[in-house]
Point group: C2
Chain length 233, copies 2
């Protein structure tokens, strides 16, 4: 009866944001109802838009709730915290990270494989610009909300593909270049259009980056990379 406020093992950041918590009335467990699935999706769809536009710190749960048409408390019923929503989204994007990488297989022709990879990355960037930007934002901030596992995953995926490039070089199929720096060129060049939209637009002069712009980008990048790696013709 009005004695002492209950102490729990929680850490707080600014805004009193809970960093770690144990759920009390168990949402999000075996909850696989239709309602649950629908509302979760509604919330995540709204969240990705808000996080993309405002970034993690700039986004507010109230805005996400408003955009998804649900009361704020309901959002918290499905996701225990702001971080939980964000992490879910980041994990989703991350799972796409290496999907395109699977196009690079040793038995394939290097020129074809690389051209496909560039094409696939640019396609993903164009069709999922919001996710791409959200991930870019996370990366710019040093991957604050990426788990150790996430990092290990990225690393493993990268290394396995570095091996493919090395095999191609070993076989004399392409010039010897540092594989990781080549990858960085590819990642950077393909993501730029979504992540730094305003900067790209300021050069393209267009109000929006069109599908035709992406086509020209793919063509230019592919040509320079292939020729630059001794894969022309």
């Amino acid at each position: 009866m009005d004695s002492i406020a209950p102490l729990r093992d929680i850490r707080r950041s600014r805004h009193g944001e809970v960093m770690a918590r144990r759920s009390r009335d168990r949402p999000a467990d075996g909850a696989n109802t239709r309602i649950s699935a629908r509302n979760r999706k509604t919330i995540l769809d709204a969240a990705i838009r808000v996080f993309t536009e405002k970034g993690y710190d700039g986004a507010s749960i109230a805005e996400i709730a408003a955009l998804s048409g649900l009361p704020k408390a309901n959002v918290y019923y499905y996701f225990g915290s702001k971080q939980a929503i964000y992490r879910t989204l980041i994990a989703d994007v991350l799972s796409e990270w290496d999907k395109a990488l699977t196009l690079l297989r040793e038995e394939r022709d290097p020129a074809e494989a690389l051209a496909d990879y560039i094409r696939a990355k640019l396609d993903f960037t164009r069709r999922h610009a919001a996710e791409s930007r959200m991930f870019a934002n996370e990366a710019v901030h040093g991957g604050r909300f990426m788990s150790r596992g996430d990092r290990a995953h990225i690393r493993a995926a990268t290394l396995s593909r570095v091996k493919v490039l090395e095999a191609w070089m070993e076989a004399g199929k392409m010039d010897r270049v540092e594989p990781i720096h080549l990858f960085i060129m590819l990642w950077a060049s393909t993501q730029y259009y979504a992540d730094f939209d305003i900067l790209a637009r300021s050069g393209l002069g267009s109000g929006r980056i069109t599908a035709a712009d992406y086509d020209r980008a793919a063509e230019t990048i592919t040509r320079i990379i292939l020729k630059g790696c001794g894969l022309a013709g």
Copy 2:
């Protein structure tokens, strides 16, 4: 006497942040004292660190004040608002944007000029990683705090250098590629190391990106770009 709170022509965003204001007791005008200069610099130095790490929304004036060893009210004495500090910083970075671009002059040898440009951009990126990331963050968020003039500036600088590339192509000194997409490849590739530090590191495997890593990056990027544009040998 305690009548009505004074109404002024201000607009507020979240957190009651002032979007436009008129200074009351005129700081920051002809204030060119030594004290003023020193404190301004102290604040900006602290601010860039906080903004880089946390982004605009994540940064708080209290933290900037703490880091610069000044009381919060003193920070507001020199800079009327959070935006004022941020904009000052962005303007500084922007003024560096085209400095490197001046290396690309029509009368120079294309291969040499491009190699120098790549080198210069990477050097700036390495030595001013914080600024680079802060600017990247601003760009990812759509350039919320970039003025129309800032945009026009970027655009003009870009277009003038596009013309240089076109002249080189016209003269048959290099392959015909879309100049703007080539620029984007260069910007993206050189900035990646600072902006997406964790991602780059996950591939490089190092705990920190070293000067040697930058050297190898410069070498790889230069080789691929030059050869890819028909500038080899």
